[in-house]
């Protein structure tokens, strides 16, 4: 007798434990908004939270489809969130209904019930979302006559003027960018005459381009003056290293500059000085290269 009692007790405990573990739906909740004060066109949101054991698959086909549910009730949005919890799965279903009922007085309506289906290992489980009642009210009194000076219907919505602010903002920003780029390039090209540093080789380059072939002395003179101007004092061949320290960009022209100084020395201090087109072109090219460095092209 005593043994039988213990056996029955153990069986009861085990059965209770097993039912809590194997419960297919561990949590079911329907969250609804206030059940009163709705008018035609209002949206009603309903949230269904379901927690199931692992592996239970919600049959999405059991959720009502978007569109007209009844003559006066539309289901506009369906959002389903599925997440994994510690014990199993959590489904959050957000439904947004829209009401199109025009009552003559305060009236109670209901969102119809529907049944959700879950499936696991070929078995199907159902859970019913209960119907939900709410009240709706009219917006206007039963009869309004035009003759009484009251508005029969609401007038057209006046058309708002187009917003010009985005265009003005874009225009201002692009204009600012254009001005900045333009000013920087003008600075590089020596257009800004009040900034003397960046117009050193501009004029000499033009003068050299115009010089005739026989005018070697003036060509050398123009080039020397330009280099002296950049250096801030007369520049000689033996000072080139200190010149490069101050203006490292010009070091890439070292070969041409050395040749220029040698050629100049030969012209001024040697008796067998002679001018030819190739060497004149080399002076012009040197000045062009200096101009390119000045403008940041090299």
């Amino acid at each position: 007798m005593r043994f039988n009692l213990i056996l029955v007790f153990i069986c009861l405990v085990l059965s209770s434990c097993s039912s809590s573990i194997n419960e297919p739906i561990t949590h079911f909740q329907v969250q609804t908004p206030r059940p009163f004060g709705y008018v035609i066109g209002d949206e009603i949101k309903q949230r269904i939270i379901i927690e199931t054991r692992d592996g239970m698959a919600l049959q999405y086909s059991s959720i009502p489809g978007k569109g007209e549910m009844t003559r006066w009730l539309n289901l506009n949005k369906i959002k389903i969130d599925k997440s994994k919890t510690g014990k199993g799965l959590r489904y959050q279903i957000d439904l947004t209904y829209q009401l199109f009922y025009a009552p003559l007085e305060v009236k109670m309506l209901e969102i119809p019930r529907f049944t959700l289906q879950f499936r696991q290992f070929g078995n199907s489980i159902e859970k019913t979302v209960p119907r939900w009642n709410f009240t709706t009210a009219p917006l206007r009194e039963l009869a309004i006559r035009k003759q009484e000076g009251k508005e029969y219907m609401r007038a057209d919505t006046s058309i708002p003027l187009l917003d010009t602010q985005p265009s003005i903002n874009r225009l201002g920003l692009s204009l600012l960018m254009a001005c900045l780029f333009g000013a920087y390039l003008a600075w590089l090209y020596g257009v800004l005459t009040f900034l003397p540093k960046y117009q050193i080789f501009k004029r000499p380059a033009r003068q050299l381009a115009k010089s005739s072939q026989g005018d070697l002395s003036s060509m050398l003179d123009i080039m020397h003056k330009a280099l002296n101007n950049l250096n801030g004092k007369p520049l000689f061949k033996h000072q080139l290293n200190s010149f490069y320290q101050r203006f490292p960009n010009y070091q890439q022209l070292n070969g041409e500059l050395v040749w220029f100084f040698n050629y100049s020395n030969q012209h001024y201090f040697s008796t067998d000085s002679r001018s030819n087109k190739a060497e004149n072109d080399k002076i012009i090219a040197l000045c062009q290269h200096c101009l390119q460095i000045e403008r940041g092209k090299r």
Binding site: G41, M153, S174
Partner: protein
């Protein structure tokens, strides 16, 4: 080489900035012109039809309102139908609401002149337009109000459907529970 690339990138940047500036100036000019036309229509003055070509939906809406005020309903409907799916969600809701107003005002005029069939059809169209406007913007109070007006003019009734569960059960007569007919044979 890198310096040369940087140099030409600056030129490219300048070119792009100039193009955007010109495009912004053109865009601003178009918007300002459209606003001028909208103001003109709101003041009750029509605009050239040429101005409506390739114009923004707002201008079509403004002209439709102007035409409705002049009771030129067909032209107003045509103007609204052109832009019904254009513009932002707000503009689409307004265009549907204003289209509903065109139908409803026309329906009321027809109903007053006892052309009930035409008025019924137009009221149904107005309800559909207001519903669409509310689907786009559920806080559109004017659309709610006018939908209710249309619903009052043309109420909707549920069809009575006899469901299987609702059928009236046949009463099973209890055998000999009552005596059928009056008893006879009394004195």
């Amino acid at each position: 080489m890198i310096k040369a690339i940087r140099h030409y990138t600056i030129w490219g940047g300048l070119a792009i900035a100039v193009v955007i500036t010109l495009q912004s100036v053109f865009s601003y000019y178009q918007i300002a012109t459209s606003n001028q036309f909208i103001l003109q229509l709101n003041q009750g003055k029509d605009i050239e039809l040429e101005a409506l070509k390739k114009s923004v939906p707002e201008l079509h809406l403004a002209r439709a309102s102007y035409l409705k005020k002049k009771h030129r309903y067909k032209e107003a409907q045509a103007s609204l139908s052109q832009v019904i799916n254009q513009g932002s969600q707000k503009i689409q809701a307004i265009s549907r609401y204003n289209l509903g107003n065109v139908y409803l005002e026309q329906a009321i005029e027809l109903a007053e002149s006892m052309q009930i069939n035409e008025a019924t059809a137009l009221t149904a169209l107005a309800k559909q337009a207001y519903r669409q406007a509310l689907a786009l913007d559920s806080r559109y109070w004017d659309a709610k109000y006018n939908l209710e007006v249309a619903m009052r003019l043309l109420p909707e009734m549920d069809r009575i459907v006899m469901e299987k569960d609702d059928h009236i059960p046949e009463k099973k007569a209890k055998l000999w529970a009552t005596v059928p007919g009056f008893p006879r044979g009394l004195p």
